[in-house]
Symmetry: C2
Subunit: 452 residues, 2 copies
């Protein structure tokens, strides 16, 4: 029994998880290159201990991929498990209550960078696998593909997948990198938004200028940047880039109704975020805004003097990182072109503008009539006692649509996080109950899927 | 003869100047507190060597003031020399070709932070004083008041002046902290803009959020900041804060004509800054825009992820430092209130906004019929062979109008910098010729003024 196995191994599971959480595998910062390899090697050894026939740290053009497999019978179904061992940067570090790389338990949660996203969720897969192997109940062949660049757009994985198609042959991909709607409202993610991440730089004078001597006579790049960026979204929350919405399909009334079935209380939502009002595209609910509508966010902005005190300067340049979330059937390559053309076209003659595409991914939809979706639904019903809702997440896992294109495989997004886990934020955490429940549910999934 | 004295002492003058330039007296950064005292003590000893009867480092609530005097005859006129020994921060440090605190000579210029602003110009006053004392030709009583907080708004000097009125009794204040229109177009600054420096912070959710899960449904403080800040100036370059222009006096046609007498070539100006177009308030020339019109500049802006790579985050807050240059008869205290009220009023309900006043100063005008103005004009005519133009500078020396209020004294702004000196910017420099010519001209000023 999986429940019993978890009960008798629960302390060991946490100890092992803490080991991998201690490795500072931040893919966005190049000085952590060594940690990426260290983390991959840790997972390799963990998969071998769990019972893999083989486990390898395979080089890519960037951070390595951990590949492992256990083939029990080629005539059985094969599940390819995907996850990532890289984590987000930890700044602003001063907002963490604890060292993000020294995991601790407070209350019923594990606090650390990556506790949920995605080391915690990947490790559930490893432990569910371990159980099935150790107990001789593994009903399918299993392959693992764990990458180290998800948080920076899975840059190298596309080519690596294309180069390793045969190795990766499978019936379906299983991914735990998403959230439940709530602990009492289990869900399977069947939609993901795409992503188009840009950086813009506005340059004015060839040097910083004294704002007294030049102020009012020379375009200030920081002022111009605020003008250009703010103009990208209008008063109704619509993105103003021409042709941006051309490929967006609006929901039918029936779909709208179904979509808003998920329990959602805007007052609780506002209270949780400590905001007095939500804000977004006019005519859409909050769930629609994050689930099926595109968005445009400034992820970072900087220019001029940003230290203590005052400096009367006109900065020579100012920059912003801007990302757009995309929905079916938008294409990030097309959107990045539209963005670039538009941004260049609105820049005044008084400045120079540079637009750079940083990374992107396509939106994804998983139909609810797939056998693997049904198996996930049955597994969650078994462990949570409640049939899960299909959920359109606002997040992006760009590589998921890549898998469909390159490997011809659909992915089942069965994740166990919760909104309050603060992934990508200070004090990321993961519920201990979610961790154990995830392991349990994954075992059920294999059982249901093998019989489908 | 002053010219001869300069010739025989020129190397020593530079060596001494380099000593004071090496002291990192950055007033905006509190870790440099010790350097402020060090710099004040250096000037104290320099003034004593030059011939002051006494020189003191006098405490204030902030950085100390260096006070020195030489009273030769109480019945003679007294000139109070004002300057500052603090300098601007040096970032972005990577744009400096040399260590900003290790002065060097390249071509005919001295490169260092403070080479011009204001250590270089203060030191001309010290050396002119030294000459007159050493040669027994000092024709007036002299007092020095050198402060260490000019670049952060002279915060402590107002109270210090009020507390030391008697000590500071004089007939006029002489200041070298401004520029010439050009080497071949000498000028005396007779107008300065005022300054009102604010900081704003826009806060949304109580933590950084994942821009996928929340993007489009929650107001992004960085997006909102760009909206609010960009709305402060309209398409015609007019500041949109209600009642902002109420006290601004427009130039008469005759004044406009006189004002535009100063030589100015917009093509050279654009070329010098490497910009394709100037930008500013519609209906005004570049000289008018900086000389007699107010302006609003973003001096710094920051929020979200600003490091290498990408992070898909909605920042919890975003901030900007915004300063306005003011013209007669605007009042910075009134303007800071108008700014605050307006900024709060335009903030949407979806965010919280904090507005902070950082520092300010009133605009200043010096009439050209003052005896001391005439003495400055005669001195420049004598040394440059050309009558100087009265010049309305766009810069601010907030304390100058403070002196008028507190001490009842007018200031003569006879500075020797040039536009190309990059004050407040990387690679600040000062022409060696300007340095020596300044010393010479100051000696002539004392002569003319004593006879007026």
């Amino acid at each position: 029994m999986i429940k019993q196995y978890i009960e008798s191994n629960k302390d060991r599971f946490l100890e092992e998880l803490f080991e991998v959480l201690r490795i500072q595998s931040i893919s966005a910062v190049s000085s952590h290159k060594g940690d990426m390899v260290k983390c991959a090697e840790w997972l390799q050894s963990s998969l071998l201990s769990a019972g893999a026939d083989k486990a390898e740290v395979m080089p890519t053009e960037g951070n390595p991929v951990v590949y492992a497999e256990k083939i029990i019978d080629p005539s059985l179904k094969t599940v390819l498990i995907y996850g990532h061992y890289d984590v987000m940067p930890v700044d602003p570090i001063e907002l963490w209550d604890n060292d993000p790389f020294d995991p601790i338990i407070k209350g019923d949660r594990i606090y650390a960078r990556g506790a949920n996203d995605d080391k915690g969720q990947v490790f559930m897969q490893v432990k569910a696998f371990e159980y099935m192997v150790q107990n001789g109940t593994l009903p399918c062949n299993v392959k693992f593909m764990l990458e180290g660049e998800e948080e920076i757009g899975s840059k190298s994985l596309y080519k690596w997948c294309a180069d390793n198609k045969e190795l990766l042959s499978a019936d379906v991909i299983l991914v735990s990198d998403t959230s439940l709607l709530a602990w009492d409202t289990p869900s399977v993610t069947c939609g993901l938004r795409g992503l188009c991440y840009m950086e813009v730089e506005v340059t004015g004078p060839n040097k910083d200028l004294h704002s007294g001597l030049f102020g009012g006579a020379v375009a200030n790049p920081a002022n111009v940047l605020t003008r250009l960026v703010s103009s990208l979204v209008d008063d109704n929350g619509k993105i103003t880039i021409p042709h941006f919405y051309d490929d967006v399909r609006d929901l039918t009334d029936a779909e709208k109704a179904a979509f808003n079935l998920a329990p959602f209380n805007v007052e609780d939502y506002k209270k949780g975020l400590d905001i007095d009002a939500v804000e977004g595209e006019a005519g859409y609910s909050t769930m629609e805004r994050t689930g099926v509508r595109p968005s445009l966010d400034v992820n970072g902005i900087w220019g001029g003097y940003i230290e203590e005190g005052t400096k009367t300067v006109i900065p020579s340049s100012a920059s912003a990182k801007i990302s757009m979330r995309l929905v079916p059937n938008q294409d990030y390559m097309k959107i990045s072109k539209l963005f670039e053309e538009h941004f260049m076209s609105i820049a005044p003659k008084s400045v120079k503008v540079k637009v750079q595409f940083l990374h992107g991914g396509q939106p994804y939809v998983s139909p609810t009539d797939l056998p693997a979706y049904k198996a996930a639904s049955a597994a969650l019903t078994q462990s949570f006692g409640k049939e899960p809702l299909p959920y359109f997440s606002g997040g992006s896992i760009p590589i998921i649509s890549g898998f469909e294109e390159i490997l011809g495989l659909k992915s089942i997004l069965m994740g166990f996080g919760l909104d309050e886990d603060n992934i990508h934020s200070p004090n990321e955490s993961y519920g201990i109950a979610n961790f154990y429940k995830g392991i349990e549910t994954i075992v059920y999934f294999f059982d249901h899927y093998s019989k489908s």
